[in-house]
């Protein structure tokens, strides 16, 4: 039952993509397991449509169904998919081939895997044109033009490169160039920026937006990052368990969600700069139903705080809210009853005693005869009970710094690590048990961090007995206590990792790190492998554990929302150097180092576009051959000629506890950054800086 009238036939023809009541099952071991349960949406030409939802909700399946690119065991059990009026589900193989050739294109998550590693990039792009019937010479010229179109600065040079010689951002641009070769009516983007760094992601998103305006293609975007969807999409569909539960204008949906699931999803994000001391994040209790599970009338009922009897018996209507917005819920009028968690009484923790201090820590790797400095003279202090957030793009040395603290990597001679007034042995294995239990780690991927052959109880017991020296019954008691503080039940403890959900696995991993009452826990992207609703629960737990145990966290994350929520202080790294460090509040308020400024402006925001936008040009330089002077000068939008490329600025204290490594005086930075925010302009790297970068590249071919 739907309240929306079926649209007249002519709009159905006009839509670039129209999915009607699509139902699809995967046959697993002979049993069909429903994944899509009646998905209906429409994308008009020139419109961009985003599908959001937690992993397993069916958003990728929907996208792949639209281009008829499904695994063998997928069976479409109902509905139609119309692309420009043609039913995709009824095409034969040759029609599908023609359809893919002329009407749709797809951009995948991993551009490295989408390009053929043995063929140069140019010929690969040219092939996309040759397929369409262009002669070789013409196809080559088209390829160069296509590379230019995706804003590759030097298309002739890139043409001659192999994929592995290009950065991820450049690879993705080349893939987009290929996707646009046929001038498709529908462009499907599946997590196109997930593997990319924030600054690169921002420029790829910019590119997608401008190309879309230029080509008038319809875009279907799949992304788990709601900020990315908000940046790109006009309209958005929120999926849950194979149904679209809410649909509408992207800005409107994100600002005033009209379905309990959307509301829960948005509230579980750390937004609007909230911090752990202010209030816990809202969570959505429970987890997504298993694929193929029998579901009650409303798919969300088991996790919905508003659910009543009617939700189990009557399929909720797709209520038309006007303005193209719909919500599949019986209780839209009662959404107001859902309140955010109450504010915590907790204060921002004052600085405790100095726990760990790093002085002059460098780490140089030897790679095929070259010295590659991953850390350069890092000085850093950590205090009791504080969270130090470590941010920076990939290759900036964040993980190496963490590994050095943990004793997995040994720092170069001359670097010192001190824990509570005594020198730490650089090698983990040679540290006394007391030091081992003091510094523990939570890994990014709980899948890999837990031994799949062990039960949760075995994993925890071993860590407890090894780190605390407890024996016999005492071990069991300690494990129970740990489990209780991580809200793991006894029954969870007897399961093996593969029987636990992602969030539960990460809780076991956190419990393991806390087995021996650690002083410092290094958390390397602790929530990036998890869905947002689960992420909220984990962040709340980490925050609770910290205030109970006065543990210090070294938090590595690319998600500035997460960093802002948990971190008391923030250190920004670039090419193995600390560029800025300071109280979290100060760093987010500014003035900032230009690199931090760029990072902050690059993050796609669920709350709309940032005020000032900075687009860094060029590539992150190779650490093996760092730029002269200030290492950031080759990409810096505030580059000062004859200064930045000559001398390296010192790390200066610009206000109490806030240090920065920049030549520009802090007052000048404050003025410039305030001006940029006001004028709402896009700042890019000036040509002089790019020239400097090119000069370095020329010195070191390859």
């Amino acid at each position: 039952m739907t309240l929306t009238a079926p649209p007249p036939q002519d709009t159905a023809l006009k839509a670039a993509l129209r999915v009607e009541d699509l139902a699809l099952s995967y046959v697993v071991r002979g049993i069909p397991r429903p994944v899509l349960r009646g998905v209906t949406f429409e994308i008009r030409p020139g419109e961009s449509y985003g599908l959001v939802g937690e992993s397993g909700c069916g958003k990728s399946t929907t996208a792949y169904a639209a281009v008829r690119y499904l695994p063998r065991n997928a069976v479409i059990t109902g509905g139609r998919i119309l692309v420009s009026g043609d039913d995709v589900t009824k095409m034969n193989d040759e029609q599908v081939r023609q359809f893919r050739m002329h009407h749709v294109s797809m951009v995948y998550q991993d551009p490295g895997a989408a390009l053929n590693p043995t063929t140069k990039v140019g010929p690969q792009v040219a092939e996309a044109f040759a397929v369409l019937g262009q002669p070789r010479k013409e196809a080559e010229a088209s390829a160069i033009k296509a590379l230019q179109r995706v804003q590759i600065a030097d298309p002739e040079r890139v043409y001659q490169r192999y994929p592995h010689q290009l950065s991820g951002g450049m690879q993705q641009r080349a893939v987009i160039a290929m996707a646009l070769a046929s001038d498709p009516k529908l462009l499907v983007l599946d997590e196109p920026t997930t593997g990319l760094d924030a600054t690169v992601e921002a420029s790829v998103l910019d590119l997608v937006r401008s190309l879309q305006a230029e080509t008038n293609a319809a875009v279907l975007l799949i992304a788990h990052n709601l900020g990315v969807i908000r940046t790109i999409c006009d309209r958005v569909g929120v999926m849950y368990a194979g149904k679209i539960v809410e649909e509408g204008d992207a800005a409107a949906v994100f600002e005033r969600p009209q379905h309990p699931y959307t509301l829960g999803l948005l509230r579980s994000l750390p937004r609007h700069g909230i911090r752990k001391s202010q209030r816990p994040l809202a969570t959505i209790p429970g987890s997504l139903p298993q694929i193929g599970a029998d579901l009650p009338a409303c798919v969300f009922v088991d996790r919905c705080p508003l659910a009543t009897e009617i939700c189990r018996t009557v399929d909720p209507p797709n209520v038309d809210l006007g303005g193209g917005r719909t919500s599949r819920c019986h209780h839209i009028d009662r959404l107001g009853e859902l309140t955010e968690p109450p504010a915590s009484a907790g204060q921002d923790t004052a600085h405790g005693e100095l726990t760990l201090s790093l002085s002059n820590v460098s780490k140089t790797f030897r790679q095929s005869g070259h010295d590659v400095p991953a850390l350069v003279k890092v000085d850093l202090d950590m205090f009791d009970g504080e969270t130090l957030g470590l941010v920076g793009e990939s290759g900036s040395g964040k993980s190496t710094l963490a590994k050095t603290i943990l004793g997995i990597e040994t720092p170069d001679v001359g670097g010192e690590l001190e824990l509570d007034d005594h020198r730490l042995n650089p090698k983990s294995m040679e540290r006394p048990t007391e030091d081992k239990r003091s510094i523990q780690m939570v890994f990014q991927n709980p899948e890999s961090a837990l031994n799949r052959g062990w039960t949760a109880r075995q994993i925890l017991s071993r860590s407890v007995s090894k780190l605390t020296g407890l024996k016999g019954k005492a071990v069991g008691e300690r494990v129970d206590k740990l489990a209780a503080s991580l809200r793991l039940s006894q029954r969870h403890l007897d399961l093996k990792p593969r029987q636990l959900s992602g969030g539960l696995k990460q809780r076991v991993a956190i419990a393991r790190a806390f087995a021996g009452d650690p002083r410092i826990v290094v958390a390397d992207e602790p929530t990036s492998a998890l869905d947002v609703s689960v992420q909220a629960a984990i962040l709340n737990l980490l925050s609770d554990l910290q205030s109970e145990n006065k543990t210090s966290y070294l938090l590595i994350s690319h998600d500035l929302g997460v960093v802002r929520y948990l971190a008391d202080r923030i250190a920004v790294m670039y090419l193995g150097r600390i560029m800025e460090v300071g109280e979290s509040e100060n760093v987010f308020r500014g003035p900032n180092h230009p690199y931090t400024e760029a990072l902050l402006s690059a993050i796609p925001n669920v709350d709309g576009a940032a005020t000032a936008r900075i687009r860094l040009e060029g590539e992150i330089p190779s650490p093996a051959n760092p730029p002269s002077g200030c290492v950031f000068h080759t990409r810096c939008h505030r580059f000062i000629k004859n200064l930045c490329e000559v001398t390296e600025p010192p790390l200066i204290e610009v206000e109490p506890g806030h240090l920065m490594k920049c030549h520009i005086p802090v007052d000048e930075l404050r003025r410039l950054q305030a001006k940029a925010r006001q004028e709402d302009v896009v700042l890019t790297t000036p040509p002089e800086a790019l020239e400097a970068a090119a000069a370095i590249a020329a010195d070191n071919p390859g």
Binding site: R29, P285, P341, P342, S448, D494, K496, S501, A536
Partner: protein
């Protein structure tokens, strides 16, 4: 502690598919599904049926053979197949069917033992090479490669000639020659396993290399090891039969298939094919059966 008093939407434990008492049944179900998957493969079923037939023959031996496989001279030699002697008789007038049936016994004892020895030594080597890397891996890898370069049959032949042939020596020689191949397979499995973070976590709590290898990594490379075991078993049967054929394996009057073939194949020219063909088919069917099982096992474990 930032805990709110009211029933706040604080993180609740998310439900898991299995209930507490269902934990065991979940595991049992996984195992049952694995077996069901195997049983749905025709190749696996054929392999098992053929292998079971030979095992039954080996175990029951003389009790189910139509004639005494060792008792000669009650018939003229080289009788062609007939209703009385389905597979004919050999040069000494012994029933070929009876001898083929009993002939599985020796090879089905020697070959699995050799495979077990090879997989055991190879796994140990592979674990050490894959985990410690560096100089240990470099040295052992070169030794392993040197062994791999040697033709198995030739080395086995020479060793058996020097040490004298007995079942124990055959097991030992074949086992040792198989170990390097197994070592390489296990090594690569360990290499990908040691990259995983649980190994780092174990190091961070100060576990010894021996513990990490035996308790953390080994259980997780058991799958490839089991597959390797089955594959090696097939090869071992073939190798043992070959050695017997060459006269350095099992000795007369054993009705061993390889040995029988070697004693009878010269008569093929005279048109007496049955004492050679049937033992040869027996070898082939066993090896193929085991390979069918190994293939099915591998693809099911990879699914």
């Amino acid at each position: 502690m930032v805990e709110s008093t009211a029933p706040s939407p604080s993180p609740l434990p998310t439900p898991v598919p299995a209930t507490g008492s269902g934990a065991m049944s979940e595991r049992a179900r996984a195992r049952r599904e694995l077996i069901l998957l195997l049983l749905r493969r025709r190749a696996f079923l054929i392999g098992v049926v053929v292998l079971v037939i030979w095992v039954v023959c080996a175990v029951l031996g003389e009790r189910i053979t139509p004639y005494d496989p060792f008792n000669a001279f009650f018939l003229p030699g080289h009788q062609p197949p007939s209703p009385a002697h389905l597979f004919g008789t050999d040069r000494l007038g012994r029933d070929v069917l009876s001898r083929v049936m009993v002939g599985s016994r020796d090879v089905l004892i020697v070959a699995p033992l050799a495979a077990l020895l090879g997989v055991g030594v190879g796994t140990l080597l592979g674990l050490v090479m894959g985990y410690y890397r560096g100089i240990v891996d470099d040295i052992l890898s070169r030794v392993v490669e040197a062994f791999l370069a040697l033709p198995v049959i030739l080395v086995a032949l020479l060793t058996l000639v020097v040490l004298g042939s007995s079942s124990v020596v055959v097991v030992f020689v074949v086992g040792v020659l198989f170990a390097p191949i197994v070592a390489r397979t296990v090594r690569s499995a360990v290499l990908s396993e040691r990259q995983l973070d649980y190994v780092t976590a174990a190091k961070l709590r100060g576990e010894t290399g021996l513990f990490i290898l035996s308790r953390e990594i080994f259980p997780n490379v058991l799958g490839p090891t089991v597959v390797e075991m089955t594959v090696r078993f097939g090869y071992a049967i073939f190798t043992v039969a070959t050695l017997s054929f060459l006269g350095v394996g099992l000795q007369p009057p054993s009705p061993d298939w390889g040995l029988t073939v070697s004693q009878e194949y010269a008569n093929m020219i005279a048109g007496i094919w049955w004492p050679t063909l049937f033992p040869a088919l027996a070898i082939a069917s066993t090896v193929i059966a085991i390979n069918l099982i190994a293939d099915s096992l591998q693809s099911v474990l990879n699914e």
